[in-house]
Chain length 124, copies 2
Amino acid sequence: MFISIDFNSDEALYMQLRNQIIVGIATEMLKEGETLPSVRQLADNIGINMHTVNKAYSVLRQEGFVKLDRRKGAVVSLDIDKLKAIDEMTKDMRVVIAKAICKDISKEEAHMVIDSIYAEYGID
Amino acid sequence: MFISIDFNSDEALYMQLRNQIIVGIATEMLKEGETLPSVRQLADNIGINMHTVNKAYSVLRQEGFVKLDRRKGAVVSLDIDKLKAIDEMTKDMRVVIAKAICKDISKEEAHMVIDSIYAEYGID
DNA sequence: TGATTGTTATAGTATATGTATAACAGAAAG
DNA sequence: CTTTCTGTTATACATATACTATAACAATCA
């Protein structure tokens, strides 16, 4: 697996998990229709509790990244509502951009940051 | 004051405070050299505890937005290290962009989101 | 002197996080 | 049918974080 958990991080374990799975989907290491490890399996693999993995999966389902199936487990399934996604992205970025402006980062420089991250994920 | 706290939010009070002050600086409602209300005064004004405001101020100082002076109080004072700021911005945006890619948001659309937020803050 | 500043200390409550067990219903495979 | 695997749910406990409540301190300034 591509998951690596930092137990010393101040970020909650289930959020680290959720974030890395989202990055996994973005980079196409995880593709639509693919099945994630079962909560017990992944928990055992990482060395954390089942419920922590379950919470990450629940969040991912609620955010429209996976569907949970009692027989198959967690399946990557993207629920795409673009207007909603853009609205959410705007909310997520407001404080980040405010910080940037305080630190004298121009709109053009912000664009460059965006581009570099898209490039990290293999998009140019 | 321009501060409005949502007690039903899942976001910590001191983080709401910290975020709104950063936005205040970005929009130039708060300018370099200006003094923020004292921790007791602002706490009283909002209806929260002194320590909560103090924590917000401490975070803002640690992040280089204000300096704390025993006589004057908290003074807006931007410590600008652009390389560090860009690095931090990149970190803040990684998961946001991963989410965006999953939701089929293109680089160009991300640029537009950036631009709209800069516009919100009066920059075009 | 008296009021105000940030700072520090202590203590209590509430919530969030993570763990530990356990059990359940549905589905798949033997 | 039995076994084994899913996600799901329930309970309980420990720990950390967030927030509040008082209180006191040194430094500053009117």
